[in-house]
């Protein structure tokens, strides 16, 4: 069945349609949650919370396409993750202004599989990981990240720089020296 039809039926309260939508999107959305929250159990709970909000507010959603639906769901999941992290950690991140900004080597990451990238990202500490996810993957500006996490823009930038340094180290440990690749 087409997603638009599933959405229509789910809006009318059909449990079968809701189940179909859940089965279709749960895996992808769970991986997004796990990128922010390390523990799989927590990530699953967050995903269920996100789906709950999605089904509750489905009546106000107008279907514009599969991509739009996924973007909306992704936004819900990320918000849920940030709420969870705010509750748990409080984002007490100290800013280091003297950390130089290191450019992320995209080419080296491209050579890695999705699972490898995922495993490297989730090994980053919470603060680094969150800023890295929001800036590098979701494409959010530092201003918005600062507002979302309740930190200053400088802190967001320094966290990103540190995360990149750490990522480089991890890649080196894996035998992938993307700095060397850059010079090649």
């Amino acid at each position: 069945m087409d997603i638009s039809e599933l959405i229509k039926e789910a809006k009318q309260g059909s449990s079968a349609a809701q189940k179909c939508l859940f089965d279709l999107l749960a895996d992808k959305l769970l991986m997004i949650c796990r990128r922010y929250v390390k523990r799989p159990e927590d990530a699953e709970e967050i995903m269920l919370d996100g789906f709950y909000k999605f089904f509750k507010n489905l009546s106000s959603f107008s279907y514009l396409g599969e991509a739009a639906l996924f973007v909306w769901l992704k936004k819900i999941m990320i918000n849920e993750c940030l709420m969870f992290l705010r509750k748990k950690n409080g984002f007490n991140i100290v800013s280091d202004s003297d950390v130089p900004d290191i450019p992320l080597e995209e080419e080296a990451l491209n050579n890695l599989s999705a699972a490898e990238i995922f495993n490297i990202v989730i090994q980053l500490p919470v603060g680094y990981r969150t800023v890295f996810n929001l800036y590098e993957i979701e494409g959010m500006p530092h201003k918005d990240i600062a507002l979302l996490l309740g930190i200053s823009e400088g802190t967001s930038k320094s966290q990103l720089s540190k995360s990149k340094v750490l990522l480089q180290k991890m890649l080196l440990q894996k035998g992938i020296n993307y700095v060397n690749r850059k010079s090649q």
């Binding site: 992808k28 991986m31 995209e106 080419e107």
Partner: protein, 238 residues
């Protein structure tokens, strides 16, 4: 950033977005997860329904209670008597007497002592129990007006010891405000006749002879029993 570089960026980003699971990772049981979610969604609906049921029940209960509460407030005996006393205190005596004369239900008669009359402080019927001070011959008297049918009802429902009506009313009054104490000697009698007068035969009766030769005599027996003077007519043979 070159176009090629931008494409590369999109590439690793989209890789992460499309990731549906890790190779060595155990997959989440979707059915169990959905059951959890469905229970949450259904549970909320149920709780809302239950809330409406409770609200409806509360409304019904309130609707039944309102008439009962108002009914109780209307027949609160002590409060009613107090209010009546206050009104009577404020009113001048002549107004009271006028009211008594106009009231068709009120019976003004000689002070009758009811030996087995039971009036409980909490169960005085406001409509049937009145204390009306009446000014007769410059003397203030207290009369009870009691309808016999109501008295019978009171006797059945009351388990208290029989008490004098006047004293029971005094008990219902608040401690600060007491009725004026009037002794029986001060009250006197509607028609004052000394026992000597009643006993003396020559003084007990009199005769009136009118121009129409009719003789009116006074019967002492009738006077003794009811307190009213009865004239009996007797035509003279002369």
């Amino acid at each position: 950033m070159s176009i090629e570089n931008l494409n590369n960026t999109e590439s690793w980003r989209s890789k992460l977005d499309d990731l549906e699971g890790l190779p060595g990772d155990t997959r989440v049981d979707k059915n169990a997860a959905y059951e959890k979610l469905h229970a949450r969604l259904r549970g909320k609906k149920r709780s809302r329904k239950a809330m409406w049921y409770w609200a409806a029940a509360a409304c019904l209960l309130l609707a039944f209670m309102i008439p009962l509460i108002f009914k109780k407030n209307k027949i609160h005996p002590v409060a009613g008597i107090e209010a009546e006393h206050k009104q009577q205190e404020k009113m001048p005596d002549d107004i009271n007497t006028k009211r008594v004369k106009k009231d068709p239900v009120t019976i003004i008669g000689p002070l009758i002592e009811k030996e087995k009359e039971v009036v409980a402080p909490g169960k005085i019927n406001r409509t049937n129990h009145k204390i009306i001070p009446v000014e007769i011959k410059n003397k203030i008297r207290l009369y009870d007006t009691v309808i016999p049918t109501d008295l019978a009802k009171e006797n059945i429902s009351n388990s208290l010891q029989p008490v004098d009506s006047a004293s029971s009313i005094a008990a219902t009054l608040p401690p600060g405000k007491k009725l004026k104490v009037i002794h029986i000697n001060e009250l006197g009698d509607p028609v004052e006749v000394s026992p000597e007068t009643v006993n003396k035969k020559e003084l007990r009766s009199f005769q009136l002879e009118l121009a129409s030769q009719e003789v009116y005599s006074h019967s002492p027996v009738a006077f003794n029993k009811s307190g009213f003077t009865i004239f009996k007519t007797k035509s003279s043979s002369n």
